[in-house]
Symmetry: C2
């Protein structure tokens, strides 16, 4: 549900949206109170209960309230509940859920259980859900809602408004109507505002003549869909197949969730955590998902360590090199991460422009150079004072400047290179960056030291 | 504008939303074509022009198209354009902008120029904008739109619909109507759907009796506003003052922008980049904003280096320690960053729950322990093979296990500690984490080595 919730008529279906209202949460809430609670708040309350109490609550709740609450639960909890509910109860709840929400949670069940539940639904619901489940969950088809308002192109504006009024109680996006021909090919879009402001006798098919409708194909990545919808500030985007038949609609509320998810995915993926991880993820699963990247990181740090090994002799002669060496790597690593972060977010929030992207790398280079100079001067003074040897200061400064510049440009480039290779721009990018800044930093610093100090 | 754009009647005001349509962009676009372009696409096109051409385009565009395009420009470009436009032209464009968009861009000008432009507006517009400018830009008051539909509580449902129809052409959020008393205290909300489904004779004041409206105060942080709106999936949230008078409304499209901004702020702030930075930020400004944290990082790496210095003698005796030492720090640092990322996103996407937060730290501890064991075993084998000394392997494994566990718990805790101190949970968190994992890693590894190997 994308709209407000009804308080005033407890007897009415809670599907009827109505008025905003989280009633204040009462301790010891019983299911009879559930109707007065917004589904999102009810879900919050349920998430704090034990699995046993959750199952009990979902069994006793009116099926429509249960359906809306289930849609608001975090995924792990929703799956646990479904797996422990009586199958008949589970099927009844699923039947009341919006198709996109139902498909999302069914997708997480194992195939056998999913089929068992689908078989308990009536044929129409079951077919609709099976169809939705064929779409990749991270695409427009996997996110879309199939309950939308379609208008035949031959209707007049007033006929359209009457029809919408009769349909709007149950529709996800009641404020957009999609004009289709007899074969359900999308020919135009009209908002409720458009219809209310138009002259009554106008044929809707004529009203949308010449429109260039923004649509998304069912296989468009959800991230791209989110970008489009926030670019145009639409309430919803229609989803079509290759021939232009309308399949469903992606609404702004799903997009808000996607933006949150993708932002988390960037931050988590950058450091090698699982992009879909949250504090609700069971910890053994997190272990399983993080270990591969930790191994990759181990290999990478072994590579950097081998650079140090090349200069083991120099360190044996001048141990203070081991004291200063990590500072160079650390500083350049941080510089690189700053550039990396800016580029990752740039790719996430704006539509890709090749020229703009490489100009951005050049920009990072300039920043790396200037900040590198500032740090180099500081390091020169510091190292000179610390060791009493200006030559050490010079080596330190030179290595720092070079490594910071390299870090900045590597940080800006890595997401672009990943993207060009068809990989996620953020995934494990920080790990690969550190390999470069550590390895190069050690090499330059110890190399210069070996050349000029020993 | 949150809705679709009109193509069909080039003579009509482009403020009338109508139908979706980015017409394909033609090269050498001239202002006469602008009406057929969605403002967001027009803004994209304009952003690629030189400042001179931008100023020229904005001068020649119909004022309403210019206003909508200016609202869609990135902030830096919008400010540049305004500063170079003729003041009369600028004032005319601002007069056509939605008040919240106008206030956003005026806020970025220097005070003198801002006042000059405001003085050119008619009194009502000028007062409205001056009022909006008193709000902190990162709060509900700073984001809200003041053009909303208010219904006196004494109206009937059908009178309400007639009124809405007369107002909806110009309103940001035409699908919610806010029911107020004579003093504009908010008493309820009704959606257009509610009104269309209600019985005609009902008084709106009665219809909203007993509602518990979700509102935000003008001084609520925009991040919290965004969290509320996405929690409840509302189209808009009403903004009130301390006495409950309605001031404006925050709409979902502004929230989508805020979610993007806050996500970027997390990623950028974590590594010490400026949270509001993008590739459009002039590079000298980025230098200025990043340098402080780079200095902080330098100090922190000096602290870690001083730990190494304590063991300089050990390194002089056994130079291979310098080869292995960075591996421990690197691995623990990466582990810590994974925990840090999960916690940062948790605080960003969910409402804060103290108990849940510290349970999450405990969860990270378990993850750190198990992954630490896995890495320790790997490191033990690797170090033993590499040096031929099982004792070195043991020291390496022990240090790695301890440091990774410490890194995981530190990573999970730092955002909570920052938050408790009233600081942003993400800002520079990675820098402080590295200090811990580097310093502790060096200490434990070199300490164990000194104890057991020398």
């Amino acid at each position: 549900m994308t709209e407000l919730q009804h308080t005033n008529s407890p007897g009415k279906s809670s599907r009827d949206d109505g008025f905003t209202q989280p009633a204040p949460q009462t301790p010891g809430m019983n299911p009879a109170d559930a109707e007065n609670l917004h589904p999102a708040d009810l879900a919050d309350h349920l998430e704090n209960l034990t699995l046993e109490k959750q199952v009990s609550a979902f069994t006793r709740l009116p099926k429509e309230d249960a359906a809306e609450a289930l849609a608001e639960l975090d995924e792990t909890t929703a799956v646990d509940v479904l797996e422990n509910l009586d199958d008949d109860v589970a099927a009844q709840i699923i039947a009341e859920m919006a198709p996109d929400d139902a498909a999302d949670v069914l997708d997480e069940l194992d195939e056998e259980h999913r089929d068992a539940l689908l078989d308990k639904l009536d044929r129409e619901d079951s077919e609709e859900l099976r169809n939705l489940l064929t779409f990749d969950p991270d695409t427009a088809g996997g996110v879309m809602n199939t309950e939308l308002i379609l208008l035949d192109r031959s209707l007049t504006v007033d006929e359209a408004i009457v029809y919408i009024r009769s349909e709007m109680a149950d529709k996800e996006s009641p404020y957009y109507a999609y004009i289709v021909d007899a074969r359900h090919v999308l020919v135009g879009v009209l908002s409720l505002r458009d219809l209310m402001l138009a002259r009554p006798g106008v044929i809707v098919g004529d009203a949308v003549q010449g429109q260039n409708v923004v649509t998304v194909r069912y296989d468009m990545d959800q991230r791209e869909v989110a970008g489009l919808l926030s670019h145009y500030n639409f309430l919803a985007l229609p989803v079509v197949d290759k021939e232009g038949h309308i399949l469903g609609v992606v609404t702004y509320d799903d997009i808000m969730d996607i933006i949150h998810e993708e932002a988390s995915a960037d931050l988590l993926g950058m450091v090698g955590a699982d992009p879909e991880e949250s504090v609700d993820t069971p910890w053994p699963e997190s272990v399983r998902r993080r270990l591969p990247w930790l191994f990759v990181n181990m290999v990478n740090s072994a590579l950097s360590a081998s650079v140090v090994y090349m200069f083991e002799g120099s360190i044996a002669q001048m141990a203070v090199l081991a004291v200063l060496m990590p500072m160079v790597a650390n500083q350049a690593g941080n510089t690189g991460q700053q550039a990396l972060a800016v580029m990752i977010r740039q790719l996430a929030t704006d539509r890709f422009d090749q020229k703009k992207a490489w100009l951005a790398v050049w920009r990072e280079g300039k920043i790396g150079l200037v900040t590198g100079l500032a740090m180099a001067v500081t390091a020169f003074c510091g190292a000179w004072v610390f060791t009493g040897l200006p030559a050490v200061g010079l080596v330190m400064a030179g290595a720092l400047l070079c490594d910071m510049l390299l870090g900045a440009m590597a940080g800006g480039s890595i997401p672009l290179v990943f993207r060009a290779l068809g990989r996620d721009p953020a995934q494990a990018s920080s790990i690969f960056l550190t390999t470069i800044t550590d390895g190069a930093g050690f090499f330059i610093f110890l190399g210069l030291a070996t050349l000029f100090l020993l």
